[in-house]
């Protein structure tokens, strides 16, 4: 399956593994995005350590990247750096070995500080499972994989 055609299931479980593994930063293998002229700015933004989103000339952040602002229909959009700070909106600790050899890892949903309806699904790192709290402040921590800088998030210390 490729592209955005299928919405339900990307893949299913590999055979059961009852061992409780340590908490890692993410899956053992990162499935990366296809870069194109629409999304390249986002996925390479971390090269200078800054997180960027499209912002329109009326000040709205637009994510995922789109040709028009969903709020005011402005076509004047450009990537703009944000603080990299956000709030943990929800999370799950993944145990299932979707990708063989993975530790457990935290999938988080982060709302950015600049606009409360812009969210990133991400991994929460540098955080013990017991520390995880919805509403906790987090900050971006990029992880480079090939030509992609994945925005992960860690607790603000």
């Amino acid at each position: 399956m490729s592209g955005s055609g299928g919405r339900w299931v990307a893949c299913r479980a590999v055979p059961a593994d009852t061992e409780i593994r340590p908490l890692g930063r993410g899956p053992s293998i990162r499935v990366l995005p296809v870069l194109n002229d629409t999304n390249r700015f986002f996925w390479t933004s971390g090269e200078d350590g800054r997180l960027r989103f499209l912002r329109c000339d009326h000040g709205h952040y637009v994510h995922p990247p789109a040709p028009v602002c969903g709020y005011c229909l402005s076509h004047v959009l450009a990537p703009e750096a944000v603080s990299g700070r956000g709030t943990l909106h929800s999370f799950t600790v993944n145990h299932q070995q979707w990708v063989p050899g993975s530790d457990r890892y935290v999938v988080g949903l982060v709302t950015i500080d600049e606009q409360d309806d812009v969210r990133l699904l991400t991994n929460i790192v540098d955080c013990e499972e017991e520390e995880l709290r919805i509403g906790m402040p987090v900050e971006v921590a990029f992880e480079q994989s090939e030509d992609v800088w994945l925005p992960l998030f860690r607790p603000v210390r």
Binding site: S2, C11, P27, N39, H95, Q96, R119
Partner: protein, 405 residues
């Protein structure tokens, strides 16, 4: 609602139902299973294949992982040599039963008179053949890891590989906002298993206790193995006919009272405005706006349980309890039992009866309204059933009645 008698979906009935063998690793083709279900449904409706002039499915056309999509409508049309006035298939729309909705509108519009609607899965056989290993399979094959565009690019890099991960975010948020507990969530799975014991076609029929549930392997917190539905093979078919055929059906026709098709929030797993409800909120509200019936009128509820938490969401959004109150509503297990105030997922649902992907609930609702539920028949001649399909940004619901209501 004064104009509700003019609703187009009320010009449609479900005149017949059919289901193939259902099981694990049946090693039969999707067309084979679909033909079995279709011929059963056509006969059940008192029709022959010559009467069928429309066809519809969700999704067909190779969408999703191996064993997910079921056969295309051309494959089924050709297998049965149907002569069609209307045909439709696809994976976008208000849940899996969007195929039923479009069939209702087609008969109301006079584009067809008797529409064969089916949903077929062969996910268990595909899994057994290694065809559903997805990313894991690609890693092992040495062919390299595929990259993704579209919606998946925002999910897969972080190991959020499955709807289980995406839906777990809903469950966790509900625990935070409403104090939902795993013991409450367990009631959806335990209720399903109790009912599955009375369903000869169910995948899992052995008794399950709360201790069994709490001891089960975690998939993605807070969802454990028993919060996730059971992949299976099977096909479910219904015949959607014009309501003027209802007096001639061998079995009681199930009348379509209202359908819920709305999607008002952003159509993404990660950007929806309210992560505790998602699209169920919109579909349910739209459905109730189209009928004078109220939640207290419903005799049987067949609410999607691809993951247990989705049933909890539907219970609230359909108005069977207040927002955030579904945990307390199901907590003692009695309210949702076969002899409770709101019999729920009476065949065992997808958690125990198998992931027939939405259409199992539709089939079961019709059986119950027809009084053909066998050992699991709800007492008191149920007259009104609600069917809900989908989760996350995908949702559709419908009200069915025995008699024109």
């Amino acid at each position: 609602m004064a104009a509700s008698d003019q609703l187009h979906e009320r010009k449609a009935v479900i005149s017949g139902i059919g289901q193939s063998a259902v099981g694990r690793r049946l090693n039969r083709s999707d067309v084979d299973l679909t033909v079995e279900a279709a011929l059963a449904a056509i006969e059940d409706a008192g029709l022959t294949r010559d009467d069928i002039d429309g066809i519809s499915t969700y999704p067909g056309g190779g969408m999703g992982g191996a064993g997910f999509a079921g056969p295309t409508t051309p494959e089924v049309q050709d297998a049965l040599r149907l002569q069609l006035n209307w045909h439709d298939g696809g994976g976008e729309g208000p849940g899996q039963i969007r195929a039923v909705f479009s069939a209702c509108l087609a008969v109301a519009a006079g584009l067809a008179r008797h529409v064969l609607v089916y949903r077929t899965v062969t996910e268990s056989t595909a899994q057994g053949a290694g065809g559903r290993q997805g990313i894991a399979g690609a890693v092992g094959s040495g062919r390299g890891i595929p990259r993704f565009g579209g919606t998946f690019q925002w999910l897969l890099p972080y190991g959020a590989m499955s709807a289980a991960n995406w839906i777990a975010l809903v469950a966790q948020r509900r625990m935070y906002e409403y104090g939902l507990t795993r013991e409450q969530l367990a009631q959806i799975a335990l209720n399903g298993r109790r009912n599955a014991a009375l369903n000869p076609k169910a995948i899992y029929r052995d008794p399950m206790t709360l201790d069994d549930y709490l001891a089960a392997r975690m998939i993605t917190t807070p969802l454990c193995l028993f919060d996730c539905d059971a992949p299976c093979d099977g096909s479910t078919a219904v015949i959607v006919s014009h309501a003027d055929y209802a007096p001639d059906t061998p079995n009681p026709a199930c009348h379509v009272n209202a359908i819920g098709t709305a999607l008002r929030g952003r159509p993404n797993w990660d950007q929806f405005d309210d992560m505790t409800t998602m699209a169920a909120r919109d579909a349910a509200a739209a459905m109730w706006a189209r009928t004078d019936l109220r939640p207290t009128d419903v005799d049987v509820a067949e609410l999607y349980d691809g993951f247990s938490i989705l049933t909890m969401v539907w219970l609230e959004e359909l108005g069977f309890c207040g927002k955030g109150e579904s945990g307390a509503f199901v907590a003692d297990g009695r309210t949702i039992a076969l002899d409770g105030a709101l019999p729920l997922n009476t065949s065992g649902g997808q958690l125990s009866a198998g992931r027939l992907h939405g259409f199992g609930f539709l089939h079961e609702a019709c059986l119950q309204l027809r009084g053909q539920g066998g050992d699991r028949q709800v007492a008191g001649d149920p007259e009104i059933a609600v069917v809900a399909n989908g989760g996350g940004p995908i949702a559709g619901s419908m009200l069915l009645t025995r008699g024109a209501g």
